[in-house]
């Protein structure tokens, strides 16, 4: 029996440990959900021929490894070198031009001279601190967004670690049609471009976002109500309405799983929404549905009535999206206020 189980264990080992990597299969498994089939772009940036012509293999490989902290793109640090190379080869197959190769030398520019150039030419799209202006990420398919492609977050540590000076300089020179980035060829001298790159290297990411200390690291907000079940539910609905939320019809947690007579009526979910905010949030991150709708549960257990809501800050961390984290911190305060009001 043990031998059979061990044999089964071996068979369950990831194929990557014993098979040659298949770039197309790896791309479809790890990348296509965001970058779409053949790199057309979706939640993730498009990988069009124009873009691929500007990016070195080294940059793409490092981007796969480093990801973009706070900008949705996860870090695929566990992929082997061979797997990353296989993905790269597959992606390169979409373009008939070879991958550019850039020297790895550090350009010796003056960041002090680069700063005013940045403020004049780059700030409008990339933001004062280099975080990238505009809401959301990737290209829009379902909802309208300000930019078809969001301007790169130049201060992102993933970008800073992946992009060489020479590659950044080349993009400044050539621009990028898909993101409406103009070409600065002939508009800026080589020295000015070098100074600009030097300034970009001084950009630092904004400080990390934290929620309330007392709830940090906990999966849920949980409060005991001094009232009975029905009264607590009524209080909660009133508090939510007062906080400008629309309340959906109440659902029992077992509803749809048990028949109506058998369902536990002392376990309910109060679902609520502010559609204007929801629309805005789906622009920031279309994946938000994985945690929708907003819900506070009321449960009676052993004679006690408790209110439970997901810890929205901790849940938002799963999305690797700084913009979402900013909203989650605000939402945390609102939800806790509502829960407190209902249990006062």
């Amino acid at each position: 029996m043990k031998r059979t189980l061990l044999a089964l264990l071996f068979l369950l080992l990831p194929p990557s440990l014993w098979a040659a990597p298949d770039g197309k299969a790896l791309y479809e498994t790890h990348c296509s959900v965001c970058h779409q089939t053949e790199g057309k772009g979706g939640i993730g940036l498009p990988l069009t021929q124009e873009i691929l012509e500007q990016l070195s293999d080294d940059y793409i490989a490092k981007t796969i490894r480093n990801g973009r902290p706070g900008r949705i793109m996860p870090s695929f640090y566990e992929l082997s070198d061979a797997q990353v190379k296989a993905i790269l080869q597959y992606i390169r197959g979409w373009s008939d031009k070879p991958a550019p190769v850039f020297p790895k030398v550090t350009l010796k520019g003056d960041p002090k001279r680069g700063k005013p150039l940045y403020m004049k030419h780059c700030k409008k799209c990339h933001g004062t601190d280099g975080s990238g202006e505009g809401s959301g990420t990737g290209v829009t398919l379902s909802r309208e967004r300000e930019f078809m492609v969001m301007p790169a977050a130049l201060n992102n540590p993933g970008f800073q670690r992946s992009a060489s000076d020479a590659m950044i300089a080349d993009i400044i020179r050539r621009g990028r049609k898909i993101g409406h980035m103009p070409s600065f060829e002939g508009k800026l001298s080589e020295q000015q471009i070098t100074d600009l790159v030097a300034f970009l290297r001084t950009l630092r990411p904004p400080p990390p976002i934290h929620g309330m200390k007392e709830w940090a690291g906990r999966p849920v907000y949980i409060m005991e109500s001094p009232y009975g079940f029905k009264e607590t539910v009524a209080n909660l609905k009133e508090a939510l309405t007062g906080a400008n939320f629309r309340i959906f019809p109440t659902r029992y947690l077992e509803q749809g799983l048990a028949d109506d007579f058998d369902v536990n009526k002392k376990q309910i979910g109060i679902r609520f929404c502010n559609f204007k905010e929801l629309y805005h949030l789906l622009n920031i991150d279309p994946r938000l549905g994985t945690v929708l709708p907003c819900r506070i549960n009321v449960i009676e257990r052993n004679g006690k009535v408790i209110l439970i809501s997901p810890n929205v800050v901790e849940v938002a961390r799963l999305f690797n999206n700084r913009e979402l984290m900013e909203v989650a911190v605000v939402m945390e305060e609102i939800i806790l206020d509502v829960m407190e009001e209902a249990t006062l």
Partner: protein
């Protein structure tokens, strides 16, 4: 023996990449058709469909235009009942759910990775196994959806 079974479960649940906190796939079908197939697939894994949240409909009522955007809730009654009895603090994450997001003629399916909750629940030995089971089921369901081909 128990250790081997536990190891098997955890290995099956090991994320393809450890940094992964959301499970997502792209399906080469329109959203409504994807939803129909997803409901069937979820049932094949022993789950009941609890309900569908129509986020798109809600937004449309308030004049916010959106493509097909719905959330499928599903669970196993005995499992949900048992967990809520022993661990009511898991209530916000039950039943399980998958978001169905239209992207033109294709559809993105996304779910929270249950194993991402393990840290928040302090790596509780019983819950860790439960999270691993859900992860394994969700990943298998999503993989079936990703590779689903319409019958000719």
């Amino acid at each position: 023996m128990k250790q081997i079974i536990l190891l098997l479960l955890l290995l099956m649940a090991a994320p393809l990449h450890a940094g992964q906190k959301l499970l997502m796939v792209r399906v080469n079908m329109k959203a409504q058709q994807t939803m129909d197939v997803l409901k069937e697939t979820v049932r094949e894994y022993g789950y009941e469909v609890a309900h569908v949240q129509r986020c798109d409909g809600g937004m449309a009522k308030f004049h916010y235009k959106s493509d097909f955007y719905r959330v499928l809730f599903f669970g196993k009654l005995a499992e949900v009942r048992g967990i809520l009895k022993a661990y009511p603090e898991l209530a916000p994450f039950l039943p399980l759910k998958i978001a169905v997001i239209a992207e033109k003629n294709q559809t993105v399916l996304a779910a929270m990775d249950p194993t991402a909750l393990a840290r928040l629940y302090g790596h509780h030995p019983v819950l860790d196994v439960q999270f691993a089971r859900w992860h394994s089921d969700l990943q298998a369901i999503l993989e079936e959806m990703r590779t689903f081909r319409k019958p000719e």
